[in-house]
Subunit: 472 residues, 2 copies
């Protein structure tokens, strides 16, 4: 049986690169670097994550749309900061068949410039607001840094919500809702995260401010899983997205966006996995329970029938279940499903059938117990909940243990993970700390940010704590 | 209230162009011709069609994958006929940021040339076969003909299944399964269709043979909704998709594909719609039942509460239901939902509440009846089934009435729709008939094709009936 050549606990980055292929999530042999093939197991997992996002969007009255992939250069160039931010990262279509296009088109890196000329047509009066839309699509960025499956790719499976509001205050309410969505969504994925307000020099091109959603990976680097942007009227002015207010006056909309990507999958793999392979949060596991018949000659029938009965009972509960009937040893079967991270394995052998018992094994803890037939469905449901809670708690403890608030750069230098230092508000001081720590400025906390200590670089009064970390 | 300027019964093509926007399916004002914006109503409808396809794929053990959109020129050029067929229809990426790419990439028009180099790596032995995969993705074709929403577009919402088999016979079994899938799928969409075997000169680039799925539109033109291709080893040889057979010998796979697109939506709109707007097949209707409270002063509470109770009861049945509480007249509400084709409208006024009755109106027939509260859920379920059956039957009758088998070109010239004429097998004779009828060769029937009459052009013995029609 193939195994990762390195252990997660020994070399996380290398383990990650191996496990994504070994567990059949993707194939990196596609002839364009950074564009990988999604294999069925990886795509199913991503689809389950997408479904959680769609559920949240439905709950909050967002409507799903689909805008074209290609954007004419002239639409793209309307917002100056935006084109500056993305201009060097886009792919250009110049020819159709043998004909040169009159105007170049680009592949969307994100869809502001595709959507906003149309929003300008859709929105007429305050009755059309708020407009809350989203799409889940492929986007493209010409990454020049080293690529990494699901984490830094050139064709990105991307979620983007775009909303328009009557004013800044209403847009702020949306951002509050977005934060609640993140909380509910990442709880289901057992991923503890932190919100941070990005520094001015690192916010989204065109945004008034940006809130990032970051997780801590086992390499002690942070990974940004999403961002929430307040645009104010920065885009609505150049794209003329305005409405007739009560009283007849024309006003520009205030806008927000919310972006997330397949990086969520990268975080799941990295944070929950272990030396044996993936560990799936039950909510999105493609298979939640795998049933392994332990066959001995002469007892096949009873065992297979017990497996079938359990399968039916679990399916009735709405669980995603599989019986592994392959003609290989139980050990090899255990290996496969451990690698793929199926949360619960059930083993049924002739002795279990005799005793009306079933063996239940948890993927996360390897804990094994015999359960009477009568209690099995209840037990499995409880174990799935318990696995989700334990995965979350374990990751939360690691995040807490590696997030430090200190007063001096000297202290910060000794620490791994995320450090918070006092900050005076000057870009230069933050950049100097980046240099010293060989890290990046993550952003300031959105709560509990008051800081009474001086800036460790210039000694001036601080305006906030500021976070630094090595990042992906 | 806005209405289509022309009636479906007067000018179908113009009606179609208007209704797609008026009913909020799409917005054609996107600045690239032939690339339209999917509005929420249109996208939801398409998602429901996609879900039916995914259900069929699951039932037949196909696995969903996702391959990159971009294909390097060198991968694309491996199969000669294929590049000849598609070369003039693809969009080329030549630059990333300000850099010129070393090798040009194209946007997939279909994914053979993206997938097959990877299939070559995935398939090693007969144990890996059959390989049955599919994806639902955006594809691109540089259409130079006039574009039409959902029917001829340049960014296409596309389904493509790709399978690999040990030999020709096993691939033929797949094609049999594909035909059964079409039957089940289009039944649910209430769309009668015909299978036809495409003539040699009009088959898919690289295929051994192509079976098309065609429907008849109210313009008496046929619209091709899908195709099933037998590739034999035409692609597996250039792409080296081979396996070790039992005994150790290396063999090339035989392959099939199955393609369908958003044209299904175009057919739904065209075939089921009427002068009042869309008519949705219940299986995919974004809203299956709309409840309209008929409010009079003083009785609001009872009416709204009756609406709410019915809503809850129907939701429990798994139906997609909406209560229209907007502050506009009932007539305006009727107009909206008729335009959008909601299969059943329910009206509840104070008198109905008193009599414990509910008014049910069918979209397709405008038939109206009062039903007692007790029977309402049962009645609605029955009516939805009845609507589906009637939509199918009505379309089937039109198809039958406009499909003719005749012996001479003179007879054929007088007929609308699909005509079948004897055919000798020579391309020139078919092309001459195309000229005379100002139509296209659709293909030969796959059943009941024996023909004892001479070819109407050259007088030679016929080998089959051949179909001709004006097409989209």
């Amino acid at each position: 049986m193939p195994e990762t050549k390195v252990k997660k606990t020994e070399d996380f980055n290398e383990w990650y690169n191996e496990i994504v292929e070994l567990a059949d999530l993707c194939d990196k042999r596609y002839p364009i670097k950074g564009m990988n093939v999604w294999r069925p197991y990886g795509w199913t997992l991503m689809s389950h994550i997408d479904q959680l996002i769609r559920d949240e969007m439905k709950k909050t009255n967002h409507q799903e749309v689909y805008f074209p992939l290609l954007i004419p250069e002239s639409s793209f160039k309307k917002e100056e900061e935006h084109i500056e931010g993305f201009g060097s990262e886009v792919y250009w279509i110049t020819h159709a068949g043998v004909n040169k296009l009159e105007e170049k088109w680009l592949l969307r890196p994100t869809s502001e410039t595709a959507m906003y000329p149309i929003f300008s047509l859709w929105i007429r009066s305050h009755a059309d607001l708020p407009l809350k839309t989203y799409q889940i699509v492929n986007t493209f960025r010409y990454e020049t840094k080293q690529t990494r499956a699901f984490i830094r790719v050139r064709e990105i499976h991307f979620f983007e919500a775009h909303t328009c509001h009557v004013n800044f205050e209403d847009a702020e309410k949306q951002i509050k809702e977005d934060k609640e969505i993140a909380k509910r969504l990442f709880d289901k994925l057992c991923l503890p995260f932190i919100f941070g307000k990005r520094p001015e020099w690192d916010k989204f091109a065109g945004a008034d401010y940006t809130i990032s959603i970051d997780v801590l990976m086992p390499s002690f680097r942070t990974l940004q899983l999403g961002s929430i942007h307040q645009y104010r009227d920065n885009f609505s002015k150049p794209y003329d997205i305005s409405y007739e207010a009560e009283g007849g006056k024309h006003e520009f909309c205030h806008q927000t966006t919310y972006g997330m990507s397949e990086r969520i999958l990268g975080a799941l793999i990295g944070i929950h996995g272990d030396n044996k392979g993936l560990v799936m949060p039950p909510e999105v596991a493609p298979t939640q329970v795998v049933i392994i018949p332990i066959i001995f000659k002469g007892k096949e029938k009873q065992v297979l029938s017990a497996c079938e009965t359990l399968y039916e009972n679990l399916i009735k509960e709405g669980l995603r279940v599989q019986v592994d009937n392959r003609n290989i040893t139980p050990g090899n079967k255990y290996y496969t499903w451990e690698l793929k991270g199926v949360p619960i394995r059930v083993e049924i052998g002739p002795k279990d059938v005799e005793k009306n018992e079933i063996v239940v094994v948890r993927r996360d803890t390897s804990q094994k117990k015999s359960i009477s037939n009568k209690l099995i469905v209840k037990t499995i449901n409880e174990e799935l909940k318990s696995i989700a809670k334990d995965l979350y708690d374990k990751a939360k403890k690691i995040l807490n243990d590696n997030q430090h608030r200190v007063k001096t750069v000297e202290e910060a230098k000794k620490l791994k993970g995320i450090v918070e230092l006092p900050w005076c508000g000057k870009e230069n001081c933050a950049l100097e700390i980046e240099n010293i720590l060989d890290g990046k400025t993550l952003g300031e906390p959105i709560d509990d940010k008051n800081c009474s200590h001086p800036c460790p670089i210039c000694g001036d009064k601080s305006i906030t704590w500021m976070r630094y970390a090595k990042t992906y």
